[in-house]
């Protein structure tokens, strides 16, 4: 694992947490949306928090796809679950809210799970890995 790959995994966790937070804040500012007033969803696209949230979630998706191109799904998902911890701790540092004991237990369990998976290999090597994937071979032929 290179430093760049760790940065991509960190990006998956951080971008998702920030994107979800911004979308949540923006939608709360908009108020309740009903099926009979769908135009409020269009209006929501002018809200800076919602625009920012969408941009961060696009960044999350790009980083997630990049990580899946060189690591197993069962490595990427636990390794990037620190985003949940970030989401839980944001209210403590931004809004100075109390974090309950149950949440601290949850944060501890996630941290142990992340360290467990991060200490192992990121990719399963199949015997057929020595042959290029069909799409990769096609790309190499194109060149």
């Amino acid at each position: 694992m290179t430093f760049r790959k760790y940065l991509v995994l960190a990006g998956v966790a951080v971008f998702a947490a920030i994107g979800d937070s911004m979308l949540s804040r923006g939608m709360k500012d908009m108020g309740a949306v009903s099926l009979t007033r769908l135009q409020t969803l269009i209006a929501a696209l002018r809200d800076p928090s919602i625009i920012g949230g969408i941009l961060f979630l696009l960044a999350f998706f790009s980083a997630y796809m990049t990580a899946l191109s060189w690591a197993d799904l069962t490595y990427v998902l636990p390794a990037t679950s620190l985003g949940y911890v970030l989401l839980a701790l944001l209210p403590k540092f931004v809004l100075h809210e109390q974090v309950t004991t149950l949440r601290w237990v949850g944060i501890f369990l996630i941290a142990v799970g992340v360290s467990a998976v991060a200490s192992g290999p990121e990719l399963t090597h199949h015997p057929r890995d020595s042959e290029p994937e069909p799409e990769l071979a096609a790309m190499q032929e194109d060149r």
Partner: protein
């Protein structure tokens, strides 16, 4: 009856999320290491390869089903049940699906990690 609807929607979220994640992972393994490909062929060539991959398009469809199932589940049940239950079950479901469909080497370390993260997420969201 409402309880049954909520759990039905939660199971649909989990099924669609796991399907979407597995299809995405399969698609990106077929495309290859994005960083390497971008250096060789440029960003737009990589984006074109990803968008033409049928597993990627099916994965997007499955994720859309998961999103709308979440909306239905939230309209029937409490967020304090729907969010942790769907997130936790998705972690465990992904570990099983990755082993059987992607043939990933899910050893004891990865099972423990998936279980710990699933429990941790349930505690955080509960």
């Amino acid at each position: 009856m409402r309880h049954a609807y909520t759990w039905g929607a939660i199971l649909l979220i989990v099924f669609a999320s796991v399907t979407g994640d597995v299809l995405m992972s399969r698609a990106m393994k077929q495309v290859g290491d994005v960083d390497e490909l971008r250096k060789r062929s440029g960003l737009f060539a990589v984006i074109g390869r990803v968008l033409r991959n049928s597993h990627f398009l099916l994965g997007i469809g499955a994720m859309a089903v998961a999103f709308f199932s979440l909306l239905f589940a939230l309209s029937w049940g409490d967020v304090s049940l729907v969010a942790p239950a769907s997130a936790s079950l998705t972690f465990v479901g992904n570990a099983a699906a990755a082993k059987f469909f992607l043939h990933e080497h899910v050893d004891r370390r990865r099972w423990v990690a998936a279980a710990l993260v699933a429990c941790g997420v349930a505690f955080l969201a509960g």
